[in-house]
């Protein structure tokens, strides 16, 4: 079965965990797919690849890149070969994420209320109080069911021995879930019958679970509360996702200018007058949400919404102020939080992280900078990073100067190698580095994670950066039953 031309080319990267290839050859959970692929000629696969591109384009599953005032529409590159996760691996990841989220949620509740964890000296107070996302406006504010993180996109990577590590906790406005759903739809078209044959679990429940959770948050006990998805607008790169989710859940997609606050209640402006809004799934950042309280120049928000939120007249998803829990400097303390709040040993490991606000650690990192990845604590999406092993001396020196200006705002992690999975590139399979972002939904009934997620892939040979802004693509992610 390994006769096909595009398999001969496959050379696993040494020292890197390969999702498909083990010491004993192809791993069992990949065999069915490989058999299927082997029956296809490389022309067939290339045709499938083209079909995928065409489907994305014609359905408008695009994001817009703006340069010199002109928008260019692009598709998020899609690799047709699925990434496969075994039932055992999944059950571990699922448990680990649930544990982590339970702790993070308790942390948010605590930090905006009694601050026991600070008083007990587990998390240093200055890390909290110097975090720009620690919002004093949230102090003692009651949120429904004490749930802060309704939707989380926790990024996982696998080291050379296959161990899962958490790279980032995204607890504010995690994006990409529409690609999880669309990638699966495309795969159904590309490989007829393969999904049921392999026993792949469905991810299509995501919108209905999210909807159920949103519904449960309605402050008005009425049969038909108004749930809306608040989008920044059509120029946002994730706008496609906003429309997809709104459509799949059957909720109204609104922009800030559609909403108005009157007497501590939020209303939407309709052709027949104002209608009260009960639940807002917002994809607008905290800082822009209420020009009265936060950034006064925001055009995207709703003036006075914070007042309605404080009064409990509207539910906001995710809660405001979650950034204090996914700040990269606070990430360091998540394993401690798990022990502190749950009395459990953390299942998922953290990547070792150095806090550059700490003199000793900074010096260590500077001395070993070519083995480090340095990141800004409050940025995501692969922006503002320094990949020590790949940066020029000049870049490194410039970056160091940047760090010294505000060391608290930087952390460093040893370069973790990221596991590799086969990708179909120019007629053959090649290993490329991947990560995994499952989407967890927390509601009053607990945490639910649809079996799957978004596998991002660094399509450039040798690259370790999977972000779409840096040349990354994605794959359909299969969790086997």
């Amino acid at each position: 079965m390994q006769e096909s031309a595009y398999f001969k080319e496959y050379h696993p990267i040494s020292g890197v965990w390969d999702e498909m290839y083990g010491d004993a050859g192809i791993r069992a959970h990949y065999t069915k797919v490989i058999e299927y692929l082997s029956r296809e000629s490389s022309d067939d696969l290339t045709r499938k690849e083209e079909l995928a591109k065409r489907l994305f384009m014609s359905q408008g599953i695009t994001f817009t890149v703006y340069s010199s005032g002109e928008g260019i529409e692009k598709i998020f590159p899609f690799d047709i070969i699925p990434r496969i996760i075994t039932a055992d691996e999944w059950s571990f990841v699922e448990k680990g994420i649930k544990q982590r989220l339970r702790a993070l949620n308790l942390f948010l509740k605590d930090i905006y209320d009694n601050q026991f964890i600070v008083k007990d000296g587990i998390v240093p107070i200055d890390i909290i109080y110097s975090c720009p996302h620690f919002l004093r406006e949230m102090y003692k504010l009651q949120v429904p069911y004490n749930i802060y993180v309704h939707i989380a996109g926790i990024d996982l990577i696998r080291d050379h021995d296959g161990t899962f590590y958490v790279l980032e906790d995204n607890l504010r406005t995690p994006s990409g879930v529409s690609y999880m759903l669309e990638n699966r739809e495309i795969t159904k078209r590309l490989f007829p019958d393969l999904l049921p044959q392999c026993g792949v679990r469905s991810v299509m429940e995501y919108p209905s679970i999210l909807y159920k959770n949103l519904l449960s948050l309605s402050p008005r006990q009425i049969s038909n509360p108004n749930i809306v998805l608040l989008s920044p607008g059509i120029y946002n790169s994730a706008y496609f996702e906003h429309t997809t989710l709104a459509r799949l859940m059957g909720v109204e997609l609104v922009e800030g200018r559609d909403l108005v606050v009157k007497d501590q209640k939020v209303y939407m402006k309709t052709t027949v007058g104002l209608q009260q809004v009960d639940v807002i799934y917002r994809r607008v950042d905290d800082e822009y949400l209420d020009p009265l309280v936060f950034n006064p120049s925001s055009i995207l928000g709703v003036a006075g919404i914070m007042g309605a939120y404080r009064k409990g007249n509207v539910a906001i998803v995710n809660a405001i102020g979650n950034g204090v829990a996914d700040d990269k400097a606070i990430y360091i303390y998540v394993p401690e939080m798990i022990k502190y709040y749950l009395g459990e040993e953390p299942l998922l490991k953290n990547v070792p992280t150095y806090q550059l606000g700490n003199e000793d650690e900074r010096q260590y990192v500077f001395a070993n900078i070519n083995k480090m990845v340095v990141k800004k604590t409050n940025e995501s999406g692969g922006y503002g990073m320094l990949m020590g092993h790949a940066a020029s001396e000049e870049e490194t020196e410039k970056y160091k100067k940047e760090i010294l200006k505000a060391p608290r705002n930087f952390i460093a992690q040893p370069t973790i190698s990221l596991s590799a999975a086969p990708c179909y590139i120019q007629g053959a399979l090649h290993p490329r580095r991947i990560d995994l972002r499952p989407y967890a939904l927390c509601g009053p009934d607990g945490i639910e994670i649809v079996p799957g997620g978004l596998t991002r892939v660094a399509l450039k040979e040798g690259s370790l950066v999977v972000n779409s802004s840096q040349g990354g693509g994605s794959k359909d992610t299969w969790v086997l039953a």
């Binding site: 359905q59 429309t243 997609l253 922009e255 559609d258 402006k269 309709t270 052709t271």
Partner: protein, 310 residues
């Protein structure tokens, strides 16, 4: 329905309708420019659809230059390219309120206009062929609206947009053509002149069937303003605005709908109780200016009462 959604559907339709008017106008005038006996000028077309400024003054009378400016001109806010970009942006903001088919159809229209091949074809191929490709996109759009869109509030706003835009265009074209006659009374007896006017509004065949006496200014005027069955007549547009507005009425916004009903009803009567004779007595230009003002008035009232832009 959200006010913004209603407004976007309305503007989406206005833009698409405008593009249709421009394209047909360009096509017929280009044809006209090719078999010109008398001096052909693009001036009225540019005036109606692009306004008059330094840039349009530089266009001159070269057909390809004018057509390219009107179709793919980036600096022309009313070029097909810009209009369709606006239309698509409006549609994008209301994607969950239009069918996927309609979205894909607009998307395709947009990509067709943006395609470099179109620009190249305008430079060297037959412009009519190029314009036909685009006109077909509009027809596809209308067909898709017709067979896929839900017959609800959204559809009513879309139709009001379409007919308001069409009414304004018919008034503008008529006004421009008749103004030219004031400068050059010979045109009054120029058969090709009227033929082109009717062709650009798609009313040539109806005219031939209705009037057996050849081309006369009065008959043309009657058809374009007062013919209930001619889909581009002013009265047809107003009748349809009225028809779709009736469907929007609901109990929760009585005051607003009453005001709008009044505006539409008044305009409808104004036209319905006019005749070629009374229009001529009143002065055609005065008459058309009044109609245009009232059409704009309806747009403003929608803005205030339904689109929350007070």
């Amino acid at each position: 329905m959200l006010s913004r959604v209603a407004s976007s559907l309305y503007w989406l339709s206005r833009y698409v309708e405008r593009s249709d008017g421009i394209l047909r106008m360009l096509k017929i005038n280009y044809a006209s420019s090719q078999d010109t006996v008398q001096e052909f000028t693009w001036e009225p077309i540019i005036r109606i659809f692009a306004g008059h400024d330094e840039e349009t003054a530089k266009l001159g009378n070269d057909s390809r230059t004018v057509i390219r400016y009107m179709v793919t001109g980036k600096s022309n806010p009313n070029s097909i390219l810009n209009i369709i970009t606006f239309a698509r942006e409006n549609a994008r903001g209301v994607q969950e309120h239009i069918t996927k088919d309609l979205w894909q159809c607009l998307n395709e229209y947009y990509h067709t206009v943006k395609d470099n091949r179109l620009e190249n074809a305008l430079k060297k191929d037959d412009p009519i062929g190029v314009l036909d490709v685009l006109i077909k996109q509009v027809m596809l759009y209308y067909g898709t609206v017709e067979i896929t869109m839900e017959r609800g509030e959204g559809r009513s706003f879309m139709n009001i947009g379409t007919y308001l835009e069409r009414g304004i265009q018919s008034v503008d074209i008529l006004d421009a053509k008749f103004v030219s006659i004031d400068d050059n009374p010979d045109l009054l007896r120029d058969t090709t002149y009227w033929k082109h006017l009717l062709l650009s509004l798609g009313g040539y065949e109806i005219y031939l069937k209705t009037y057996r006496t050849g081309f006369e200014a009065e008959n043309v005027l009657e058809q374009v303003v007062l013919n209930n069955d001619f889909p581009r007549s002013v009265i047809y547009s107003v009748n349809h605005i009225q028809r779709y507005f009736e469907r929007l009425k609901s109990d929760s916004n009585l005051d607003s709908s009453r005001e709008l009903s009044f505006l539409i009803g008044r305009l409808q009567s104004h036209i319905r109780y006019s005749s070629v004779k009374t229009i001529e007595d009143e002065g055609l230009h005065t008459f058309l200016t009044q109609i245009r003002t009232q059409l704009f008035g309806i747009g403003d009232a929608l803005n205030i009462h339904y689109f929350a832009n007070s």
